[in-house]
Amino acid sequence: MTITVTGLTKRYGATTAVHDISLRIAPGRVTGFLGPNGSGKSTTIRMVLGLDRPTAGTALINGKPYAELASPLRTVGALLDARAVHPGRSARNHLRAMARGNGIPERRVAEVLETVGLSEVARKRAGGFSLGMSQRLGIAEALLGDPEVLIFDEPVNGLDPDGVRWVRQLMRALAAEGRTVFVSSHLMSEMQQTADHLVVIGKGRIIRDAPIADVIAGSSTTAVRVRTPDAEALRHHLAAATIAARHTGPDELTISGARIERIGDIAYEAGVRLHELSRRDASLEEAYLELTAASVEYATPVPGEAR
């Protein structure tokens, strides 16, 4: 099942939280939704889930708006904010009520509680849960209807390292089963390890929508590193070939915007000795910071995006 977002826009008075975004989120892979705080991630997700009404545009799940899904929880599972459970209700009863509303068999409640490791505290009141436990309960709720589409808003918030690894494996496994997995995060490192495809958003606009490898490769910080005792001489020869290089150490040059083979050839023709010629990939973090630099520069608080 595919999530199709077309021209989606959300305005709060004079502030535009989400500005005319269009996306196609495909099944069978983890799509990361990355952006700084206040960039419109949660607002977009709430509109996809039919919780907030778009000012313009549509968000369709398998061609239908969320409100028209027959049993929504069996189609789309979502984790929004973990603390959205009545504090006086037990984890089990919360899930029972959710299951009843969508004709989900009651045995699923025990199953998903087992999956997220909350069986022990199933009958405890949710108000006493730690943030990590609440997060697990939210994930259990998302899995309740065994849905084809899963949307997680900041799923690893509050989880310990074990929990973070568990969520990562869970998302990979769900995508491997052919499900559509859409995960928002501001943790770039997390995305690098989980997502196949990346949508980067800044100030309510899509900055990049590409496979994660392309995002990294397309970054200007993807560079070639050269170590040579004749650094200055090589720099001149490269300059003659209109390739800019900068000194990053006494005998080290860093060159961006040129293929590694070309640099090797130029050094060979000039007779410059090389001690190292290597490619240095940008981390997703660098690529991301570069992409969003413009959009956080004048960042102003956007309502509806408190996280």
């Binding site: 709060y12 949660s42 709430r46 889930l49 039919g50 919780l51 907030d52 009404r53 969320y66 409100a67 899904l69 929504p72 929880l73 789309v76 979502a78 929004l80 904010d81 603390r83 959205a84 459970v85 009545h86 504090p87 006086g88 209700r89 037990s90 009863n93 919360h94 029972r96 009520a97 959710m98 009843r100 509303g101 969508n102 004709g103 709720e141 309502p303 509806g304 995006e305 408190a306 996280r307």
Partner: protein, 338 residues
């Protein structure tokens, strides 16, 4: 399916049980005290201060019907929490994801609240009638037909008021706003609006219906309920489920303090301008406190508050107003500190 989910939600929070228990205590004690007053005045003609009737017997229906005006507040709290607790806890977003059709969610909530309060109304009526019989002693008039009729009217009234409260909760979302609005419409306005016009207010129409089975009054109440439910639907449909993600951050433990401030301000205003409604204002303050605790306080606090409400009602006819005010102010001050 939707109603089944709402049914599970209603019975899996303690506040529902507390509200039902409180309504039973309020109904029973109020009916007994009213009945006992009637009997006491007849037995002690020399002590009587003001007696507004020359009757020497009373139907058990009368104290029972009159007690609904107090017991209803616990029922209102139950119905209101069906929706306002979802906004204060954030569960509304889970609810609307499970059932995105707004009208179906609201109808399910209204139907569950109505069904439960109708059944509770029958139990409350039975308790009120029994307590009235006990309090009236030899002066009681018991008529089975009248008793059944009043029980059905009490149940129907409470079910309507429950739907009214659900609608108001959907329209206003916060417990503070909903409770204030319901109290103003049911009680507050009837003190200000003059006689013939006041018959069109939901509270006055409601008590006329419960006391006499007035069909016109019932229709007025139905119209009010329909209008408020429609307003709730319009808001639920038109507004974002969560326009501001941070709004839930205050959590369910903040309403009591807010409620207290609002109610204290209202009480002070009422005391200044309308000394005659002082006692009523005290009742409201204590009832609001009870609701506030149901929304977040500890078990001891709830028990204590129920006791205070009953005590306030019990003391009201006998203690001078200044004394009552003094006692309650002390209790309230103690609460605010703790």
């Amino acid at each position: 399916m939707t109603a089944a989910a709402e049914w599970v939600k209603l019975w899996t929070v303690r506040s529902t049980w507390w509200c039902l228990a409180s309504s039973l205590v309020l109904m029973g004690s109020c009916a007994f005290l009213l009945a006992n007053d009637f009997a006491y005045d007849l037995e002690h003609p020399d002590e009587q201060s003001v007696r507004d009737t020359v009757a020497t017997t009373q139907s058990i229906v009368e104290p029972a019907a009159a007690s609904v005006s107090l017991a209803q507040f616990a029922v209102i709290a139950l119905a209101m929490l069906v929706i306002t607790a979802e906004y204060s806890s954030g569960t509304i977003r889970a609810t609307l994801r499970a059932v995105p059709v707004r009208g179906r969610v609201l109808l399910a909530k209204a139907a569950v609240a109505a069904a439960v309060t109708f059944a509770a109304g029958l139990v409350l009526a039975a308790a009120g009638l029994a307590a009235a019989r006990l309090g009236l002693r030899d002066y009681a008039v018991v008529d089975a037909g009248d008793a059944v009729a009043v029980a059905l009217r009490i149940a129907a009234y409470l079910a309507l008021i429950a739907v009214f409260s659900v609608g108001m909760g959907a329209a206003l979302r916060s417990a503070v706003g909903t409770l204030s609005a319901v109290l103003v419409l049911l009680v507050g306005l009837s003190m200000v609006v003059p006689e013939p016009a006041s018959h069109y207010l939901p509270g006055v129409a409601g008590s006329m219906f419960v006391a006499d089975g007035d069909v016109g009054a019932a229709l007025i109440l139905v119209a009010w309920t329909g209008a408020v439910l429609a307003a709730g639907y319009a808001v639920l449909r038109g507004r974002d489920a969560c326009p501001r993600a941070g709004s839930a951050a205050t959590g369910p433990h903040s309403p009591p303090r807010e409620l207290l401030a609002v109610e204290l301000a209202q009480r002070d205003a009422l005391q200044k301008f309308l000394p005659a409604v002082l006692v009523e204002a005290e009742h409201r303050a204590t009832v609001v406190l009870a609701v506030a605790h149901l929304d977040g306080g500890g078990v001891a606090a709830r028990l204590h508050t129920v006791t205070v409400v009953v005590a306030a009602r019990a003391l009201a006819p006998r203690v001078r107003q200044q004394d009552l005010s003094h006692i309650l102010r002390g209790l309230l001050a103690w609460r605010t500190r703790s």
